[in-house]
């Protein structure tokens, strides 16, 4: 897998000695969570022109997250990454009204989710749609070609409705790695993102990075809600940086 090998290279080139040591001492939970993400995972060549315009013109920035169960944490909505994203964006764009809403499509494949897009966007009129997908398809081992065309059509529908789009791929879930074949879905999302010039938030690579750096031990069987909340907090933070970078919002707009 590409991202795996990427990590492998990083490990070999840079932190040959540091990584194993670092991986063993997880930070205690009372300290602020460290979850550094390499800049390359947070930057994209694709742009978000509508987000940029909304911020520049002082309009409200309405973000719609369309996702499955992995866009939630238990029952606490405020700790899930969409709510964290809203908080961080409000912090970093104080002069802009930022609203993040979530549309859950539990247990729906990309194709099933995409079917509702036209109506959904008519109702909500978002500036930006963050579409998190792939997990359900991977679990049901949907034909990757069908998955690709479903994502493709979904992205087209979202763009036609006048929204900027960010794609978000699967979670890194080491425990189910022997059971769910993830790579074809990651690859196909990458391809669609490239074809439509849409930023791809590589949640998989980012979480894998955290696991390998020792920020989070994602291998563990049960950690209670606390770990999940911290992961989502970090995801929200990374996502806010990603959106700001993709929209080319320099420090000038952020003030």
């Amino acid at each position: 897998m590409r991202s795996r090998a990427f990590l492998g290279l990083i490990v070999l080139i840079g932190c040959l000695a540091a990584t194993p040591l670092h991986a063993e001492d997880n930070p205690p939970s009372d300290k602020p969570q460290s979850c550094e993400v390499p800049a390359s995972l947070l930057s994209t060549e694709s742009a978000l022109p509508k987000v940029a315009d909304a911020v520049k013109d002082g309009h409200a920035l309405n973000i719609l997250v369309i996702g499955s169960r992995s866009s939630t944490v238990g029952t606490s909505e405020a700790s899930a990454y969409p709510a964290r994203l809203q908080a961080m964006l409000r912090e970093r764009l104080p002069s802009t009204t930022v609203n993040v809403s979530v549309e859950l499509q539990v247990k729906k494949t990309a194709e099933e989710a995409a079917a509702s897009f036209v109506k959904l966007l008519e109702d909500k009129q978002p500036t930006l749609v963050i579409w998190q997908t792939g997990t359900v398809d991977a679990i049901r081992s949907i034909d990757p070609d069908e998955f690709r065309s479903a994502v493709d059509e979904g992205v087209v529908a979202l763009q036609k409705a006048g929204a900027d789009v960010v794609l978000m791929n699967l979670q890194y879930s080491p425990r189910t790695e022997t059971m769910i074949s993830v790579p074809p879905y990651l690859d196909n999302m990458r391809v669609v993102a490239q074809e439509h010039d849409v930023p791809l938030f590589d949640r998989f690579a980012i979480m894998q990075q955290w696991n390998d750096q020792g920020d989070f031990d994602l291998f563990s069987a049960s950690h209670g809600l606390e770990l999940a909340k911290r992961v989502h907090d970090c995801l929200g933070r990374a996502l806010s940086k990603f959106v700001i970078d993709a929209a080319h919002l320099g420090p000038a707009q952020q003030n």
Binding site: L7, P144, T176, T178
Partner: protein, 414 residues
């Protein structure tokens, strides 16, 4: 230490094959009488190790697997060498004892692989059931949907027996089973006209791509390795074993081939680097990307096939048959693993499951991950050594009683 197949290879072969063997050329070719082609064992052993490492969670050893440096990976090596050795052993059987007996021996072998597959499936079921009941990380509630199939064991297990339900990492054996099932036909065609057989294989590959043929899987989707496409590599291996390699010797030794292969390998290396270092991505021409992606593993993309050919050509050129290193004790574990590939492959899949298990139970860092990979490789090598030793002594006993070389033995090293 010699394995059973050595002994089979030592026996004189009849007719055409004998002539082929004597005319052995420097490229991959029919091993001369009394000599086993150690390069095949070496690279099959290597493929088995790489497959094992790729099945484990990423760790430092993952960095050494060839799929990080080009389009093709260990699966290509494994299937090609399997085709080569299968044609070699059973092709000879077909010449010696006729089509019917050889077919029976192949089918017996298919049965063994099938049983091995079902055995691995049982282990998988045990693991997934355990994880299903012990795993409660709220982060992954969604991923746990994978357990839904346990709700209908009646359907799932029957589908698994039909090879239609294959859990992750268990795709290679079903492919191998199907390919072996058609081996008698392939060999029979090859005996008649080898080039026609290869031509038909290429045609089937092309038609598969053109009409998008596939084998469906359960609950949906298709076989992760489409046998209709991957047969090309298997048949090509068989073709090489039955004299094709000798005929290609001139092409293989030409400097033009060397340069083309080198250039292609370098190109694919550069492309793979853009996957790992997203910063480099802007160097890739868009048009090239659109033409090239996705590089399809399921249907054995031409780019992957070409990458394998280039690798093989360069290997054959720079690693001559008589390379003394092949006898060195350092490469012995690899060669032994390659000589008992079915057993070691199954063991590798099992160890990958077990490794996941250990990692899940003991939260360890990168060091533990690497340690588990290394332990797995040591266990695989030790097992290969034990099997070799056992077969060797069993064979000694058998030859005392005068019953040497039954059908099982010849296939035993495949």
């Amino acid at each position: 230490m010699t394995s059973i197949a050595d002994r089979v290879a030592e026996r004189p072969i009849a007719g055409a094959a004998d002539a082929t063997a004597r005319a052995a050329a420097p490229a991959i070719s029919f091993p001369a009488v009394g000599e086993r082609e150690l390069r095949l064992d070496l690279f099959r052993g290597l493929a088995l190790w790489l497959i094992f490492i790729d099945h484990l969670p990423p760790n430092i050893l993952t960095w050494f697997t060839i799929r990080n440096y080009g389009f093709s990976d260990a699966t290509e090596i494994f299937i090609f060498i399997s085709g080569y050795t299968a044609a070699f052993v059973y092709g000879r059987a077909m010449l010696e004892s006729g089509v019917v007996v050889a077919t029976a021996r192949v089918l017996r072998r298919v049965w063994q692989i099938y049983v091995a597959h079902v055995f691995l499936f049982t282990i998988f079921l045990a693991e997934i059931s355990y994880v299903a009941t012990s795993f409660e990380n709220p982060l992954y509630t969604e991923e746990m949907g994978i357990m839904d199939f346990l709700k209908q064991p009646d359907v799932t297990i029957v589908q698994a027996l039909l090879l239609r339900f294959r859990p992750v990492n268990m795709d290679v054996l079903p492919l191998y089973i199907v390919l072996m099932l058609f081996l008698p036909v392939i060999l029979w065609l090859m005996k008649w006209k080898a080039d026609v057989a290869l031509g038909l294989s290429v045609a089937l590959y092309a038609l598969t791509w053109h009409y998008d043929w596939y084998l469906s899987a359960y609950p949906n989707g298709y076989w992760a390795f489409n046998p209709l496409a991957w047969q090309l590599l298997f048949v090509f291996g068989a073709w090489c074993a039955l004299g094709g390699a000798r005929r290609m010797a001139r092409i293989l030794s030409s400097p033009v081939t060397l340069w083309i292969c080198g250039a292609y390998l370098f190109f694919s290396f550069c492309v793979t680097m853009t996957w790992y270092f997203p910063q480099l991505n802007h160097l890739m021409p868009r048009r090239l990307e659109q033409w090239m992606y996705p590089i399809d593993k399921t249907d054995l993309d031409v780019l992957r096939f070409a990458h394998f050919l280039a690798l093989a050509a360069i290997t054959v050129r720079f690693l001559p048959k008589g390379w003394p290193g092949l006898r060195s004790p350092w490469l012995r574990p690899l060669i032994l693993c390659g000589q008992h590939s079915l057993e070691i492959f199954c063991l590798g899949v099992f160890l990958a499951f077990a490794g996941h298990f250990v990692l899940a139970e003991i939260s360890g860092g990168a060091a533990l991950h690497a340690l588990i990979s290394i332990c797995g490789i040591v266990i695989m090598s030790a097992m290969a050594w034990v099997i070799s030793w056992y077969k060797h002594s069993a064979d000694k006993n058998a030859s005392r009683k005068g019953t040497i070389g039954n059908a099982d033995m010849a296939g035993g090293s495949l």
